[in-house]
């Protein structure tokens, strides 16, 4: 085996290269839209899908890895969106400060909320986080100096490094953000941090005996999830150029939970697939079907049915379907194949 071959093989197996290639593939979409091969509305739908994938990645870290539930996603995402608009348009501090504010402030608030709420578990944590989200939602409706209330906050495409952004450029920024989030999540879950989260989910008692400070790691997971939500909120604002309080309600939080469950707990690509199935499929496919396309609340019915089907038949999510497919393909290989596959997997961490 020549050196160049192994080097190339190692590069191909490196998951970070995979994420970068995935991002590069997505970057071709604005080009397609620009040349008229793809509808602009489709590009918008894909852009929002990727934004939701970022939020869902944070929730997967909580729900999938750490075993913590949060129904507060929408509130923190909305906070990120309004902060981005307020800092960019009202304060006139520009794109970078706006992004920084949308990252830092929700995370700090998230940590403070976490210190109080992470002492309760399961359904109580769900209620506590839901309460926070509803408080934020009411704030969005009332604090008119900040959000313009129910009339909605209007914004515009940012100026980045002296360049006036357009839809395609903001789409590119979303893709870059998603790829970075995927890489960061990968690093978190494949090292000591991820193992501590796993240990905590499996048994808090055993995790403590292994020296894991459970509250610290719960806060860590919660902080990363709010960081991603704040980022996604800012991207949402820059992409849509407006924000209304009604967007940031419980249904959004529940949809993000659906994305994680349907895509697959503890799966990075699965989360992106989940976001696509829950958000993009109703928009791009179902709404265009005759008769059923006109049913009100169709996306909710769709994701509801999908959750039931997935939990009953594919508890691993759509990623489980992928695994089954791979196993069926690998049974035809020689006996040593699974062992080699496992080795490759570890080598590729």
């Amino acid at each position: 085996m020549s050196t160049t071959f192994t080097a190339a093989g190692r590069l191909a197996r490196n998951p970070h290269v995979g994420y970068a290639v995935f991002g590069a593939a997505l970057m071709t979409l604005p080009v397609l839209a620009g040349s008229g091969l793809m509808m602009t509305s489709t590009l918008m739908t894909v852009g929002f899908t990727l934004i939701y994938a970022i939020v869902a990645m944070g929730l997967n870290l909580l729900l999938g890895y750490s075993g913590l539930i949060s129904l507060g996603t929408a509130g923190f995402m909305g906070l990120g969106a309004y902060l981005a608009a307020y800092v960019q348009d009202d304060l006139g501090l520009g794109f970078w400060v706006a992004v920084l504010a949308a990252l830092v402030i929700p995370t700090v608030i998230g940590i403070l909320v976490g210190v109080v709420s992470l002492r309760v578990r399961s359904i109580y944590l769900a209620i506590a986080t839901l309460t926070i989200s509803e408080i934020l939602l009411k704030t969005f409706e009332q604090a008119e100096w900040f959000t313009h209330g129910t009339a909605g906050k209007q914004s515009h495409y940012p100026v980045i490094l002296g360049v006036q952004a357009d839809r395609a450029l903001v789409f590119g920024i979303i893709v870059v953000a998603l790829v970075l989030v995927m890489m960061l999540t990968h690093n978190i879950v494949h090292g000591q941090l991820g193992r501590a989260l796993h240990a905590m989910r499996a048994s808090e008692v055993a995790a403590q005996a292994m020296g894991v400070n459970v509250l610290t790691y719960k806060l860590f997971a919660f902080a990363v999830a709010t960081l991603y939500a704040g980022l996604a909120g800012a991207l949402y604002l820059f992409f849509l150029k407006s924000s209304y309080p009604s967007t940031w309600n419980l249904f959004l939080s529940l949809n993000v939970v659906a994305m994680v469950v349907v895509g697959g707990l503890r799966s990075i690509y699965g989360t992106v697939v989940g976001a696509f199935v829950i958000f993009a499929v109703p928009e791009l496919v179902l709404k265009r079907l005759p008769v059923i396309g006109d049913v009100a609340g169709l996306p909710y019915i769709f994701s509801g049915v999908l959750i039931i089907v997935v939990i009953m038949f594919f508890p691993q999510g759509l990623r489980g379907v992928w695994d089954v497919g791979r196993r069926m393909a690998s049974t035809r290989r020689p006996v040593s194949a699974p062992v080699d596959a496992a080795r490759d997997e570890v080598a590729a961490r």
Partner: protein, 272 residues
């Protein structure tokens, strides 16, 4: 300094029930120490009081892991510390590590990753360094992976390192839990019923493994076990308790001859 663990006058009550009543015992360096007693005697409660899962009402738990170890854990200028009141997650830093009666592993992780959790407190890289996968963090991860493989090799399950822990049979899971304790460079390993659910030949292997761990790592072992064959075979010293109270202590031979221990297990003799 020859005693790694000194439990003095330990008492704890749950409601009106006195689970432990003024219990004292001492585990010496390099000793395999057995704690025995009939069901409900309070053996696991002792473990939980030592490892701080329960806060005892009264009593002290002196732990002397060696000055170096204490300095590393941030307690310079002393040769022993009282564990009572320490947070549970700090106890392992002093070199006190335990296994669980009902084997606590993470089924979704590989065998190797499960073992690596035992080295959790030794990781020096910051969260940021790990999130960004800086060279320092990667080097540290590689170093501990190798250490974890050695621990698996020691327990003869290295060939299973990359398989999922959830798919492993019970015996392997038990070994996996023991390999995990070795990651912490233990001074004292607490084993909660390690022979439960093992067959005869597996139990014999276990006795051998416990001795090998003691000899290779120079640590002490505190063992709670119902399998009297194992206890009598492997232990240097034994302490028997009943209803939370001290009954007797001594070598296996002494314990086997002790009439109080017989009464506790079999009831009082009618003709006495």
């Amino acid at each position: 300094m020859t005693d790694v663990l000194q439990v003095e006058n330990l008492s704890i009550s749950f409601g009106g029930l006195k689970a432990l009543d003024d219990l004292s015992f001492t585990v010496s360096d390099h000793e395999i120490f057995g704690l025995i007693g009939p069901n409900g005697a309070g053996k696991t409660t002792v473990f939980n009081c030592v490892t701080q899962f329960y806060r005892p009402d009264t009593g002290t738990v002196w732990f002397a892991p060696g000055v170096d170890r204490l300095v590393r854990a941030g307690h310079a200028g002393t040769d022993r510390i009282d564990l009572v009141g320490q947070p549970v997650h700090r106890v392992i830093r002093y070199g006190l590590v335990r296994t669980f009666q009902n084997v606590e592993i993470i089924p979704e992780l590989t065998v190797l990753d499960n073992v690596l959790i035992g080295g959790h407190v030794d990781f020096r890289s910051s969260m940021i360094a790990q999130m960004l996968r800086l060279p320092r963090a990667r080097a540290e991860e590689a170093q501990y992976r190798e250490k974890a493989r050695e621990a698996l090799r020691f327990l003869s399950i290295e060939h299973l390192a990359d398989q999922l822990a959830g798919g492993q049979p019970y015996g392997v899971r038990k070994r996996l839990e023991m390999a995990r304790t070795l990651m912490a460079e233990p001074r004292l390993i607490i084993l909660d019923e390690p022979a439960a659910g093992l067959n005869e030949s597996e139990t014999e292997d276990l006795a051998d493994t416990i001795r090998r761990i003691r000899d290779t790592f120079g640590c002490s072992v505190l063992l709670v076990e119902h399998d009297m064959g194992l206890v009598m075979d492997v232990c240097d010293q034994i302490c028997a308790i009943s209803f939370g109270k001290f009954l007797a202590s001594g070598t296996p031979v002494e314990i086997q001859r002790d009439v109080r221990v017989h009464e506790a297990y079999l009831g009082e003799r009618d003709d006495a």
